[in-house]
Point group: C2
Chain length 245, copies 2
């Protein structure tokens, strides 16, 4: 049951049947976490790489005086500890946002795969490069986009990322972040996130309640957020996009 991993890798680059088979043959055990538990990192299996199967998580950094910045939002299909796998060192802070289920793959099996399949290696490497690309886009948001643009941009991004792994339903998708967590993602204050969301709702572009977002006009939202999807490195899919950038 690492189909999701294969789907994720193939959303960025094509695989051969042999690679797909090798990936599917990787052993994996399921692990569950409850919502909103920080310090997940300590509870991960050592010498395993984890793939999110369901739910949302995030990486974050706390500054000594209590300021917090959320560094990435992790959705199903995301691999959370490739950096440690490759580079060693300790896992940066990681927290679950919603209830979370993950698949843990033993490092040694993965090492063997890397040695035998350069293409699978590239595919895994790719996911880390896409993550980097997303980080950079967030830099643009936080550095130069206005609050309204930031929120619009983030919603577009999460929508496409979820859609790429089949976790959207039409124009609707789950976003189980509180406004205060969104603030820590976007480099804004909670109060300002609240007002910005109200503005987006009033302008008829989205609805957002009890953790569900609906985008009424993706292309208008993308324009408003100066969003263009290239940085996500999604390959065109066989079935047509429900809504497209």
């Amino acid at each position: 049951m690492t189909e999701l991993l294969v789907a994720r890798l193939e959303s960025h680059m094509p695989l051969e049947q042999a690679d797909r088979a090798a990936l599917l043959a990787l052993p994996a055990q399921t692990r569950q976490f409850s919502a909103r538990s920080s310090a997940i990192a300590g509870k991960l299996l050592d010498n395993h790489v984890h793939v999110i199967e369901n739910g949302f998580a995030c990486r974050y950094r706390d500054l000594p005086d209590g300021r917090r910045q959320i560094l990435s939002i992790l959705v199903p299909g995301d691999i959370i500890d490739l950096r440690q796998f490759v580079l060693g060192g300790t896992q940066p802070f990681l927290a679950s946002i919603s209830p979370l289920s993950m698949r843990a793959i033993p490092n040694d099996h993965l090492f063997r795969l890397l040695e035998t399949s350069p293409r699978a290696t590239r595919a895994l490497w790719s996911t880390t490069l896409v993550e980097e690309s997303i980080s950079r886009e967030w830099l643009v948001s936080i550095g130069k986009r206005s609050a309204l643009e930031r929120v619009a941009h983030l919603l577009c991004e999460i929508y496409l990322r979820l859609d790429a792994v089949g976790h959207s339903s039409g124009p609707r998708f789950p976003l189980p972040l509180t406004q205060s967590e969104l603030a820590d993602v976007l480099g804004l204050s909670t109060v300002h996130v609240n007002r910005t969301l109200q503005e987006l709702r009033k302008s008829g572009l989205i609805s957002f309640q009890s953790g569900i977002v609906e985008i009424f006009d993706f292309s208008a939202l993308a324009t408003l957020g100066l969003f263009s999807s290239g940085y996500l490195h999604l390959r065109a899919r066989s079935k047509p996009q429900p809504i497209s950038a």
Copy 2:
């Protein structure tokens, strides 16, 4: 003459003699660029990966209305187009900051290396992961640190990165960015960068003139900037650090 590449890879993880030899055997031709030419990307050799040998460059993103965010500062030893190599697609915008010399390595040789040396593959992969780690740290800066903290933090980072590849001289290092470029790095306005630099100078922590920074008290600067060097993933070096975090 890819010694610099080897030095850079070894600053993050140990290599075996065989890997080192394989890396040094990679053919490479030198390419030169003048200072401050944007759209470097178009002038790079197709099907080559480029390593900076001397000088500074940056990746940047322009928004439609002229806002610009600099996404990363590239220093000697940095590899600038691994993403395209692995993931395909086009090079994000790239500009030289100072006169620049680079070494271009043909993709096919690199592919062959990846297929024969998993350890070299990991080392190259590592550099992209370190870049990602730096992007994330910049997110913290722009998202949550004050202007003074941001500048202090950036100076600490550049110093250690240059020092790791032997491009510092004692507490001094080149930083050929204009204040307006620093502003685009830090998500600030030029005017505010100017005032912030003055504050740092007045407090006696640094000097910064004609593109040369001198850090008088690294540890005070690091404290001020909430800097801790872990995210750079630098291995302890054999010779002692001149100044350390």
